[in-house]
């Protein structure tokens, strides 16, 4: 090896060591966001759980997600049923590459998992996250159980995943395939969970237990809490009035999430000659009460349809959401993040005959 190249490689190795050393020293963090499609009460179409873990955080040994009380769950599907999909990214420590993983979520027979170290005994349901990359499929079990005892304070159901350690030496039994460290995972299940019947903002608790860096053993005192708040329902109301004399129409509406007004949000107004053919023509912004208004003119003797849409991205809610964290006996490393659900809402279509 020529000297300059060797120097570069040595420098890179030193840099990598420093990066990983920093990762070990830095405070661990992660976030979880939960959303439903649609964001309605007593709905069961689909639930999406989005887990984000920064690369600098120690690799995770276990993730326990708690479905809040008030939700229903149907967990009696036959083994092999396709119940959803999953998309993830993971850092391969062996290649230094970030890998995209995707696939289906299927049910498995719980009797085939009674000796799994992650959740031994009889589980109410076992879902398999079939994560594929370049033709290789990793089957990651997710264990579903109703909570009992003290855990009922955290939620009605527990969804548990265990991950193999990526940062132990190559060749160590049980090491993650290609040293894969999960950075982001979004999985959606359909027709499984039913949202609560009363308006509110259910809180999804998640407990993350990291590994002790480089050791492959869980760092129990490093267990931390994240929270995902899910405002239900999202309601976007729309009413229309028309003044035949002035030919001016007035649209008014109100946007609420979890029964509370949403202010400062842009609402897109679409119009068209048919209910299915509306296109965005204007926008309005909600005020402090969640109300919005839009006016315009129409040509006489025509039928015009209007619809409003609004959306919100996943939002950081840590300052408010992490108040009153779980006791240190449950989450010794505290509450590190909270999120508010992303959502998209559409009003009913309203019609004006001018």
């Amino acid at each position: 090896m020529k000297r300059p190249l060797r120097a570069v490689l040595v420098a890179a190795a030193v840099l990598a060591t420093l990066v990983f050393a920093n990762a070990a020293l830095a405070a661990n963090t992660a976030s979880v966001a939960v959303s439903h499609t649609p964001m309605v009460l007593a709905g069961s179409q689909s639930t999406t759980i989005h887990v984000t873990i920064p690369q600098a955080t120690d690799p995770m040994a276990a993730i326990n997600i708690f479905v809040p009380s008030g939700y229903g769950a149907k967990v009696d599907q036959a083994a092999g049923t396709n119940i959803g999909s999953v998309e993830a990214t993971a850092l391969s420590r062996d290649t230094g590459l970030t890998l995209p993983l995707s696939g289906t979520v299927t049910t498995d027979n719980p009797t085939a998992h009674t000796t799994d170290p992650c959740s031994p005994g009889t589980n109410a349901a076992v879902w398999i996250l079939n994560l594929s990359v370049a033709g290789q499929t990793l089957a990651v079990p997710l264990y579903v159980n109703p909570t009992s005892g003290a855990a009922t304070a955290l939620g009605a159901y527990n969804l548990k995943i265990c991950l193999p350690p990526p940062d132990v030496p190559i060749g160590t039994p049980g090491r993650a395939f290609q040293g894969a460290q999960v950075l982001d995972a979004k999985f959606t299940v359909n027709g499984i969970l039913t949202t609560p019947t009363a308006a509110g903002v259910p809180r999804w608790e998640t407990l993350f237990t990291p590994y002790n860096p480089g050791k492959g053993t869980p760092n129990l005192v490093g267990t931390f809490e994240t929270r995902a708040f899910v405002p239900l329902p999202i309601v976007l109301g729309l009413q229309a009035k028309y003044n035949k004399k002035t030919r001016v129409y007035t649209l008014t509406g109100k946007l609420t999430e979890g029964g509370q007004p949403v202010s400062g949000t842009s609402v897109a107004i679409a119009r068209g000659a048919t209910a299915a053919g509306v296109k965005k023509v204007a926008s309005a912004t909600t005020g402090a009460t969640g109300s919005f208004k839009n006016t315009g003119k129409l040509k006489p003797r025509k039928t015009t349809f209007f619809q409003a849409t609004a959306s919100a991205a996943e939002r950081d809610y840590t300052a408010t959401g992490c108040q009153s964290p779980l006791p240190a006996t449950v989450a010794p490393a505290g509450c590190v993040s909270a999120t508010l659900s992303p959502w998209t809402a559409k009003s009913a279509t309203v019609r004006i005959k001018s």
Partner: protein
């Protein structure tokens, strides 16, 4: 052993064959670091399952027994011996790896066991038919593929300064030889070559040196893992050459991973060759082959990724094998199967239009033509007419 007299029956029993079943065997990496090739086996098995559900071959169901050699030729040998001597397979079909096929070739030819449709385009497989008649490959000739890139570069980039990354074995060496042959008088424009070994974990240092050569054209004769590293390394180094990459590394996941680690523009305009349908390419989604492929994936491999092109390769190989079995007669023997495999002229739905599987006793490269493809708008787009590789 070709045949064993059945006790008291006065007729000859063919290993691996009963009135209701044909037993085929294979070895490949079902587990381990190289298990990305596993879909070539599961894809083939899924196609056999589909054929079995539709009556099998001449009333016989195909049983495909796959042994996990973890991509280690030292394990391929005893596992192949087990398949032949204990399990008594009719033929070895679609075993994975050139080195692995070579490790058992003498043994299988000595036993006169068909070693069919090896996933290799190496001359050491396809051109040694006289000495090893029982061994037939399947991939287009590696040297022929290299020849296509050489001719293309000589014509379209006559002043190119060429850097080549290649695997230091038959696969890479034959591609490089073909490139030189295709460049002809312009072969001197190869300003740098860098080799890597199959189990090398990184090719970054090789790419660094190739860039330092001042080349403006980068030819990547590498397997998917190293090809990804090469694209990423070139991007990180700020090197923007015209790129050519071998057909082995155009699975859609390759560019997906490259883009996740660079930018969506990386690899745009890269050139390769392709002979298989790409189920992710929207321009091919209406083809009968892609429709059949997706139907079989959904029915028989619901947990595996239909975007992985290796599955469709496995089905293409299995389709070829089924045609050979059909042509081998209602009561085939190993010898009649070999004769059939030497006389194929098959339109295979999993191949791109205009390509066929053709063999003769003097031609052991069943896929003799391929298309140029270019990576634009997120897909490998098929260009022009088929080009000859053999």
């Amino acid at each position: 052993m070709l045949a064993v007299p059945a006790a008291g029956a006065g007729r000859v029993e063919t290993p691996g064959l009963t009135k209701t079943q044909i037993l085929l065997g294979a070895t490949g990496p079902l587990t381990g670091a190289e298990s990305q090739y596993q879909p070539t086996l599961s894809g083939a098995k899924a196609y056999f399952d589909y054929v079995n559900a539709h009556g099998g071959v001449n009333g016989r169901k195909i049983v495909y027994q796959i042994e996990d050699d973890q991509y280690d030729p030292a394990k391929t040998v005893p596992l192949t011996q087990k398949l032949v001597e204990q399990d008594r397979v009719f033929a070895i079909f679609n075993s994975i790896g050139t080195e692995h096929a070579l490790a058992v070739r003498d043994y299988l030819n000595e036993k006169k066991v068909p070693q069919l449709f090896v996933g290799s385009g190496a001359a050491v497989i396809g051109a040694q038919r006289a000495k090893y008649p029982w061994t037939i490959g399947l991939l287009p000739s590696f040297e022929g593929e290299g020849l296509i890139y050489g001719r293309l570069i000589a014509k379209s980039r006559p002043k190119a300064k060429i850097a080549v990354l290649y695997e230091n074995d038959e696969y890479g060496n034959e591609l490089l030889a073909g490139l030189r042959r295709g460049l002809g008088a312009k072969a001197g424009q190869i300003v740098s070559t860098q080799a890597y070994a199959l189990l090398d974990t990184s090719v970054i240092s090789q790419v660094t040196q190739l860039k330092a050569s001042g080349a403006d054209t980068f030819v990547i004769f590498a397997l998917p893992k190293q090809a990804i590293q090469a694209f990423v390394a070139a991007d990180k180094l700020g090197w923007k050459p015209a790129e050519y990459v071998t057909s082995v590394s155009i699975d859609p996941a390759v560019m997906q991973i490259v883009h996740l680690n660079t930018t969506p523009q990386t690899g745009t305009g890269a050139t390769s060759t392709a002979f298989l349908h790409d189920p992710t390419n929207p321009t091919q989604k209406r083809s009968a082959g892609v429709k059949l492929y997706l139907q079989i994936m959904k029915r028989y491999l619901p947990r595996e990724d239909p975007k992985a092109v290796a599955h469709i390769y496995g089905m293409m190989a299995a389709y070829t094998m089924v045609e050979a079995l059909k042509q081998a007669g209602k009561n085939p023997t190993r010898a009649s199967l070999l004769r059939a495999a030497q006389h194929l002229n098959v339109t295979n739905p999993f191949l791109l239009p205009g390509l066929k599987v053709t063999t003769t006793p003097a031609n052991y490269f069943p896929i003799g033509k391929t298309y140029l493809v270019r990576y634009l708008n997120g897909y490998w787009n098929v260009l022009g007419k088929p080009l000859t590789t053999s």
